[in-house]
């Protein structure tokens, strides 16, 4: 198996037609992973033996006539998802020795659908970062240029799909952590509606924003995998009980009569001119496909980054209070007393960016500051959410850039947190409003990929995937493979 850009759809077909077995396929991917690890650092844990065993079981199930659409297709999980009996680090020294006692619901759902887990993917520590440079296990590198960041926090997921060392990967998105790395690595990313996919077993960062999703080669692949990840889970109190359609059934629907909104605030002075041209070119493709385009305005959207940097740290400071050096995770040597145990275990176990966000959150939630920061931010969040609701009265979906620029150099933005935070300026709004969002490849600037962002109303995943798929039938940006990994 040497074809460089196979999709989940094509691999599933190959398995069904007996062109190769799951064991052969899995072995081929494990070889590609091992070969790419020194240059990309995309994996934290490779579960080769378990993968080959699961692949053999998948082949046996197929031989017994019990194969589903995804039986035997290898995938990898972001290391934020708990996987029973397997190291689950969340990119942190704090969980450097944590072996999960159970599976996340989406992990068991994708296993039940027949997928084979290849391993656990590198990520920014506790999903806090936009460049994958905050990982305790070292930065992931962008396969298009290994001097560049892959984006974050799902940098391992995006880089590994881009380098075709995994066919597809799970990921999570709190402020853009699926869409931004997907854009910077030239792959397809989907962040579903808040509550669409269970978060049971997904290590919490900011609970009113976090959502599980996927990074894939194509929208069709995302449609195939999203079903088994979706649906009501009584173990997640934020899971929404809403029917799960067959996302593949409507991929080919016509776009005649679709109204696409261009958010004026997404085309601001921060947007690189060459990137803007690629976005305009993509919009022209949609006009050719019969969509109408109109400009809409979300006047409060420019406040989404400061809003996020109050809400997300506040929630993170509460969520990460559980890491106390007592029940699991890192514990300091010879603590003098309980307070010393807490403070040193946490001081040593967390990296610089995680500590920065915990302290930011602690401050905004402390007495005297709560109204000025936290309540104020939650009010602005309401305004941003209302802006989107108004926009969706005038159009079906919003499109625009995913990021203001292509990938930047490793180390370029490490010293200034604000510059780093502004990478997510176009993606954070969807999280604040709980909306689904996608990023799909739409061209290159100076040899680096650019992403087109699609944002829809709540639970419009099927329509978004349809809109992304129709674009991918007209273009082949999503099939481009970095030459070093072809």
């Amino acid at each position: 198996m040497s074809a460089p850009a196979p999709t989940v759809a094509s691999l599933a077909r190959g398995l069904a037609e007996g062109q190769f077995s799951s064991v052969e396929l899995t072995r081929a991917y494990l070889e590609r992973i091992a070969a790419a690890q020194p240059s990309l650092n995309a994996f934290i844990t490779v579960t080769g033996e378990a993968a080959l065993k699961a692949a053999a079981e998948a082949d046996a199930a197929r031989a017994a006539g019990r194969a589903g659409r995804l039986t035997g297709v290898p995938i990898a999980h972001k290391d934020i998802f708990c996987t029973e009996g397997v190291l689950t680090t969340c990119g942190s020294k704090m969980l450097g020795n944590f072996v999960s006692p159970y599976d996340a619901t989406i992990v068991s759902g994708l296993r039940a659908a027949g997928t084979v887990m290849l391993g656990k993917l590198n990520m920014d520590e506790f999903a806090m970062g936009s460049s994958n440079e905050t990982s305790y296990f070292g930065p992931v590198r962008n396969p298009w240029d290994t001097q560049m960041v892959p984006g974050g926090s799902s940098g391992g997921s995006a880089a590994s799909v881009a380098a075709r060392i995994v066919p597809a990967a799970t990921a999570t998105d709190t402020g853009g952590s699926i869409r931004q790395p997907a854009a910077l690595c030239g792959v397809t990313g989907i962040k579903p509606t808040y509550g669409r996919c269970s978060r049971y077993g997904m290590i919490a960062f900011a609970s009113s924003l976090d959502q599980a999703g996927l990074i894939t080669v194509s929208a069709e692949d995302a449609a195939l995998l999203l079903g088994p990840m979706s649906g009501f889970d009584p173990r997640d109190s934020t899971s929404v009980d809403s029917p799960v359609p067959d996302y593949t059934a409507t991929l080919g629907d016509s776009l005649q009569g679709l109204t696409i909104g261009l958010v004026r605030e997404f085309f601001d002075k921060g947007l690189d001119a060459a990137c803007e041209q690629r976005i305009r070119d993509a919009i022209a493709v949609y006009e050719k496909l019969g969509a109408k385009v109109r400009e809409v305005s979300c006047p409060n959207l420019p406040l989404s980054v400061p809003t996020y940097y109050v809400v997300a740290p506040a929630e993170c400071s509460s969520n990460l209070a559980r890491f106390d050096g007592v029940r699991f995770g890192h514990r300091c040597d010879s603590p003098k007393n309980l307070l010393d145990l807490y403070c040193r275990s946490r001081g040593e176990g967390f990296g610089a960016e995680v500590k920065r966000r915990i302290m930011t959150g602690t401050y905004v939630l402390s007495a005297g500051y709560y109204d000025a920061y936290y309540l104020k931010a939650q009010r602005v969040r309401q305004l941003i959410s209302a802006d989107f609701a108004r926009a969706f009265k005038e159009c079906d979906l919003l499109v625009g850039p995913t990021t203001p620029t292509p990938a930047f150099r490793i180390g370029a933005k490490c010293d200034d947190p604000i510059t780093m935070y502004l990478n997510d300026i176009y993606t954070i709004g969807a999280n604040l409003a709980g909306l689904p969002g996608m990023s799909i490849p739409c061209g290159f600037v100076d040899g680096l990929p650019i992403g087109l962002q699609i944002v829809g109303p709540h639970f419009s995943e099927a329509r978004m995937l349809n809109v992304a798929h129709r674009y991918q039938q007209e273009t082949d940006w999503h099939l481009k493979t970095p030459s070093a990994f072809a």
Binding site: V99, T193, Y194, G195, S208, L209, P234, S237, T238, V240, N300, L303, V305, P306, T307, Y309, V310, S317, G325, V326, R327, F328, G329, P335, K336, N337, L338, L339, D340, L341, C343, R346, G347, R356, I358, M359, T360, T362, Y363, S366, A367, Y369, A372, K376, A377, Q378, R379, V380, R381, Q382, L383, S385, A389, D416, P417, I418, Y421, N431, L432, A433
Partner: protein, 118 residues
């Protein structure tokens, strides 16, 4: 009970150190925040956080300009939905031994910490 500052002292700290957004934080502020967050910082870390948290609070100070009069704080990202509650019933089996495999120090089924009561 977590050892730490007495409640009255904590309130005094919050009142005394209150200042409107946009102002720079001091070394003492960072030390207090770190203590509340149960984070030990090294000498080299403190000035880094004085600088970066000051920048972050200056940046989020932009929110002051937002016209939020008469707008309720958003309590849930999905309009019209509230946090779902469940019946208070035992649904999980006892898996203490499995869970304690990840604990740094256990004995006889108990999690060990330094002596709390002298």
């Amino acid at each position: 009970m977590i050892p730490g500052p007495a409640k009255a002292g904590f309130r005094r700290f919050c009142r005394a150190s209150y200042r409107p957004p946009n102002m720079s934080l001091t070394r003492a502020d960072i030390e207090n925040i770190a203590r509340l967050a149960r984070l030990e910082l090294t000498e080299t870390e403190i000035p880094v956080y004085v600088d970066s948290l000051s920048k972050i609070f200056a940046f989020v100070g932009e929110l002051d300009r937002a016209p939020t009069a008469g707008t309720d704080p958003m309590a849930h990202p999905m309009p019209g939905l509230a946090q779902r509650l469940r019946v208070d019933e035992v649904t999980e089996a006892n898996r203490r031994e499995t869970y304690q495999h990840n604990a740094p120090k256990v004995e006889a089924g108990l999690y060990l910490v330094p002596k709390v009561i002298e």
